[in-house]
Symmetry: C2
Subunit: 449 residues, 2 copies
Amino acid sequence: MSDSLENIREFIEQYSEEDLKKAINGIPIDDLIEYWDQLASEEELRFFSLLNLDRKVDLINSLPSSSQETLVTDLSVEHKRVLLEEMEPDDLTDFMQAISPEVRDAVWKSLGDEAKQETLFLLKFDEDDAAGLMTPRYLALSSSLNVSQALGWVRKNAADVETVSYIYVVDQLKRLRGVVSLRHILTARDEDLIEDIIIKKVVTVREDTDQEAAARILETHDFVALPVVDDYNRLLGIITFDDVIDVIREEQTEDIYKMGAMGGGTERYLESSIWSLIGKRVPWLGILLVAATLTTNVLSYFESLFVAATVLTLFIPTIIGTGGNSGTQSATLIIRGLAMGELHFHDFGRVLLKEIAVAMVIGICMGALIVVRSVFLPPFIEMHEAITIGVALSFVIVFATLVGASAPLIINRMGMDPTVMAAPLMATLIDIAGLTVYFLTARLLLGLH
Amino acid sequence: MSDSLENIREFIEQYSEEDLKKAINGIPIDDLIEYWDQLASEEELRFFSLLNLDRKVDLINSLPSSSQETLVTDLSVEHKRVLLEEMEPDDLTDFMQAISPEVRDAVWKSLGDEAKQETLFLLKFDEDDAAGLMTPRYLALSSSLNVSQALGWVRKNAADVETVSYIYVVDQLKRLRGVVSLRHILTARDEDLIEDIIIKKVVTVREDTDQEAAARILETHDFVALPVVDDYNRLLGIITFDDVIDVIREEQTEDIYKMGAMGGGTERYLESSIWSLIGKRVPWLGILLVAATLTTNVLSYFESLFVAATVLTLFIPTIIGTGGNSGTQSATLIIRGLAMGELHFHDFGRVLLKEIAVAMVIGICMGALIVVRSVFLPPFIEMHEAITIGVALSFVIVFATLVGASAPLIINRMGMDPTVMAAPLMATLIDIAGLTVYFLTARLLLGLH
């Protein structure tokens, strides 16, 4: 694509407006996004002006917010208006929330009255709630129509809504009374009454339902859209599947960051300032550092032991590293199971039994591996020392696995998020306990004091 | 819900069929799934028979494969037939691939001819390719119709397809010539020709496109469905958004497992056998163990050093733990950026500069923290020793961060998956290098040999 970027730059100099349009509209959106920040500001504008309107909207929605901002700022008032008109109200609201106050002012001025109203309505809701995802552009009609009338009405209004897949039925107070899929309307007879074909038990979410919970409901039912209602069952808007995909992606990034011992936002790397990167990393790193220094206390308690047998020191990193890894494996499986709703606290017994069995087999394998490795490869330690270390490692693994399996279940039961306990904190806790197990076993087997 | 389970059990004994149906169909599918494996086999069948057909299909699609199997095996031939008829061909094919050969035989016999044909067709494709997600039930018509005729035709055929959102236009050889959304047809005038309103540049994926790539294309464009074509641009089927959500979830699980140092399948925890759990964990644990034992060699090289200053031993776990954590943080950010298509190899320079700046600030903070902590809290070490350890930690952090940031970019450039390099392997490599940096710094500052 670097080549095609070059090609298009040449094109721009040599070819007609028509040819350019064709070439640029033939580039996949993903490629445009990848190379967008390498374009000069005039080039960006030139490229952008050549795109078809729907591709402009796709591009603007997918660009990082800093590029969105620059681009929209540079557009002429008229271009800005046309583009913003074309954006879905929920995307527009997200965009308004992401940009800086000055640009927001300029954008606000170019909005039509309807878009202003919709944006103000959507801004009332919390970004992280179900209502933060919804669009107020849905199809709602009265239940007294028949199929033929309803279809005529849908045809008149289809252009203004985000999806035509479902048609909602509301009463005069906007309370949700039922739903019918367009497919159902299409396959019904002309004279059937909407009243008779709607589903009255509608799956809905409340405005303050957590976004991730709403995503899961849409997912379980494979719905294209999910209605959002208030306390009085009044229809506020609908969440569509594309918003749900965005929520799942963001959740994924958050979970991965937590496993990598980071908190904070999920903004793109290249857009994050150095201070925001530091802020994301320092708190957890500091907590883990202070927790880890407890190992100094454990070690200083056993100091006489490793002074008497320095071979024990040689294996400290291996022992705690392997203990940490097996605890992390176990914790990862359980945390993922909890997150996916496949595991619950009432499975505690079954999980523990399974993990004990698994840990014993793994402990024996790894114990044997380290004995063989350290006797036959440098630093070639004595067999009785190797066996001591192997046995200690087996104990550490069993212990670490049990901690790794039970901690997430207990933490989850206490209503906290077990993901933050994952890899790093777990590994640190296991380091501390693992060292204790290691030295106690060694003391016993080597007959030291 | 444990209560509502009890309630319904009481219901079953006391109330009429009609009341039971209402009660059971009022339970959200997610709750049914959670408690399903606590039901006795007769209860499962009784519950299941009371569900509405569409809820039966939702439930079967969401149950773990072992429960699917038991349930389907226990159904009467007639019930089995009705249920399987109602499943979408792509879900049915997934189901057929998940169950054991004996059950598969029984299921196969209860399929109608059309379902058999569709399943055989879908089984030809690789499960991991785009074609492995598709359904052959889409709407395709000839471009010579006008809007009114097309709409009539859609109404006749809407019941048989997975989505009515898009209508595809194919020629006699089934080659894809265009697409039009149902919404567009609805808003067009009756006499418009389909030929004139279709989009001829259709976004498609090839049958052998990777599933995750196909998911990303649907995602970028916010499409409800994406057509799959063969080498000759013949339309084979369509991928719908719900399949894409499943792919994203599975990708998420795989990535999280990799970060937790595990390979293998993504089957549910409670369904995995002990041997499959061991198989998922032992290979990586063994590799990491052997890699970690290189630390023994590093330590035995520096043995004279820590025998002379045992305080150095006390901080081994803290130093390598913190180094590992900062390397992991950096690697996690870069790997996620790569996976989301936000970072590329051509960003190497910018990433490195940013990480050097971040690492220096973090290194100084953590260095200061460990000095303060170890001088003022037990084991109360000497100031000059503390400063040595603080400086060494800063160096280790800078070094680990740079490794964490550059390794994923290089590995990705070489065409390999950087996720498997994440947390655990990175931490092990950083342990080895970190210890070396630690002891070299300490030797220099403490003037030892």
